[in-house]
Subunit: 265 residues, 2 copies
DNA sequence: CCTCTCGATGAATCCATCT
DNA sequence: AAGATGGATTCATCGAGAG
C-alpha cells in the first residue's frame, strides 16, 4: 500500500482509506480481496444531462426541506457515457484485486441497471444475475406502477467456485430504507448483511465507495473483514465512528487484513 | 385487416389471429390499441451461444423428463444482436398501432432485461420503469443468489396521459408460476390481471405473442378487450379454448374490438 | 374439514464426455 | 478444437393422498 489508512480497527479486521477509489485501488496487491460490495454514485435522476449536472446529489434525491443535512456526494454528475466509462475503469481495478471466483455486487436503480450490467462486463467481470430489493414505503404515482424496487447487480471474477456446501442465498429482499441516516443513499443493514454472506467466512470485503460504511458494518457483523475507500471526509468520519462502535472487544480473534484469520495469542 | 381472425369471441370483446406478429401487426390500422402486454420468446439461457440455440427450447428451460409435455415455442433461438434487432422491429410496429400515451409491458428475465430496455427504446417507446415479480419456487443454486425474480419492463407511447384519478399500481408482484400449465412459460394469472389494470376500462389490450392467452384471460376478467397473435397452432387452440370458457354470457355488453364500448341492443 | 407427510418441479447451470 | 449431449445439483412451494 502506498498510502496509510485513515482509520483501522486495531484488530486487523477493518480499515478505511481516504481518497479517490482508482488511486487507492492502484496501491492494492493483486487478488487480495474475496468480495466487492459497493454503491457507486448513480448519476441517475433527470433524463437529460442538464438535469443531472444542475443540482448536487442532496437536492436531487430528496424532497425539498431536507437539503442542508448532507454533503453532496463526490462524482455524481457525469453524463451517461462518461459514467459507464468511469465505472468500467474502477471495475477493472476491482477485478485485479479480487481472487478468482470472487463475487462482486453493485447497488443500482432501475434506470441505471442496464448501464451497470454493461459496465460490469466491460470491466471484465462475468455477470451472474440481479437481486431486487423492495421498499414498501416507495412513493405512489397515479396511473402508473409504483417505483418500489432497487437492484443489486452481481457477478464473478471468472468461473465461480463450485462449492456445493455453500447455502443458496435469497433472490430478493424486502426492507425499508433506514430512518435515521448518516448518508443520503444509505442502504438497509438487513439487506447488506444478507448480501455479504456470499463472501467466504472471515473473507475480505472491499467497498471502494464506502460512504457511511454500511457494508463494513454488515461485513463485521457477519464475521467478514472489511476494506473501505471514501473520498468525502465527513463520511469517513461517520463511517469510522459506526465501525468503531462495534469493535469493542480486544479479545476478539486477531485478523490480518491481507492474510488469513489467526487466533489471538 | 388483411387476414381474418383464427377465432373471435362473438361479442366483439376478443379476437385471436394466427401467424407471424410482424405480418399481422402490419395489417392493423394506426392507433387502434390502448395497451400492449406481451411475453416474447426470450432467446435466453446459458452463458454460451450453444446453450441458447439448444435443440428444442423446451429442453433448454426444463429438466429432462419433462420435455415431452409441450410444443416448442417459435423463435427462441436468436443470438443477442438478432434478438435486439427483431424486438425493435415488432416494437416499432406496436408503437404505430398504439394510441398516444398508451402503455406497453414486456415480460423478460434477468439476462435479457438490458437488451429489452434497449429494444423498447429503439422501437420508439419511452422507457418508464421495471416491475419485478418474485417466484419463491425458483430453482436454487448452491453458493449463489437464487434466481427468484423475473421482470416486466414498461413504457409509454410518448408522454403519459396525466390521469390523476387512475389508481396507483404495485411496484412488484409475488406469485408462483402455475402448476397446471398449458404453455411451458405460462405466466400467473394473478400478476397478469394486476398488470392489465393500466389499460383504460374496456380498452383494447394487444398481445403479439399470445401463447395460451393468459393476457387475454386477464384482460377480459378485468373488463378490457383483447387482440392476440400467435404462431403455433397448438397454442392458438389452447388459447381460444381458455378464452371461450369465460365468454359464456350472451347478455354481456356488446363491444366492438376496434371501437367504443356500447350497451347491448 | 383440517393437518401432515411425501413426492414432484423449476424461462438453470456446471461439468464430463461425446462427436 | 469447438459444439452437442447428458447427468447432477440446489430447496421453497404445491398438490396429492393419508390420517
Amino acid at each position: 500500500m502506498t498510502s496509510s489508512p485513515y482509520w483501522t480497527s486495531g484488530d486487523g479486521r477493518a480499515a478505511l482509506y481516504a481518497g479517490d477509489s482508482l488511486a487507492v485501488l492502484a496501491g492494492l496487491p493483486d487478488q487480495c480481496v474475496d468480495t466487492v460490495l459497493t454503491d457507486p454514485p448513480y448519476s441517475s435522476g433527470g433524463a437529460f444531462r442538464g438535469d443531472r449536472a444542475a443540482q448536487g446529489t442532496v437536492a436531487k434525491y430528496l424532497d425539498s426541506g431536507n437539503t442542508g443535512r448532507w454533503r453532496d456526494m463526490a462524482g455524481d454528475n457525469r453524463d451517461q457515457r462518461a459514467y459507464a466509462y468511469w465505472c468500467a475503469l474502477w471495475l477493472a481495478e476491482c477485478l485485479r484485486v479480487t481472487r478468482p471466483g470472487g463475487v462482486i455486487m453493485l447497488w443500482t436503480d432501475w434506470r441505471q441497471l442496464p448501464t451497470t450490467t454493461d459496465a460490469l462486463q466491460a470491466g471484465g467481470w462475468v455477470w451472474r444475475g440481479v437481486v431486487p430489493w423492495a421498499k414498501p414505503d416507495a412513493r405512489p404515482q397515479a396511473g402508473r406502477f409504483r417505483n418500489a424496487c432497487e437492484y443489486v447487480v452481481w457477478g464473478s471474477a471468472g468461473a465461480m467456485l463450485h462449492d456445493l456446501t455453500a447455502p443458496c442465498l435469497p433472490g430478493w429482499y424486502d426492507a425499508t430504507a433506514p430512518r435515521n441516516r448518516v448518508h443520503p443513499t444509505q442502504k438497509p443493514l438487513s439487506v447488506t448483511r444478507g448480501l455479504v454472506r456470499v463472501a467466504p467466512p472471515s473473507g475480505l470485503v472491499l467497498d471502494p465507495f464506502a460512504g457511511s460504511c454500511t457494508t463494513g458494518l454488515a461485513a463485521l457483523l457477519e464475521g467478514r473483514r472489511f476494506l473501505g475507500v471514501e473520498l468525502v471526509e465527513d463520511y469517513l468520519e461517520a463511517g469510522a465512528l459506526r465501525l468503531g462502535a462495534i469493535i469493542t472487544d480486544p479479545d476478539d480473534p486477531q485478523l490480518d487484513l491481507f492474510g488469513q484469520a489467526e487466533a489471538a495469542p
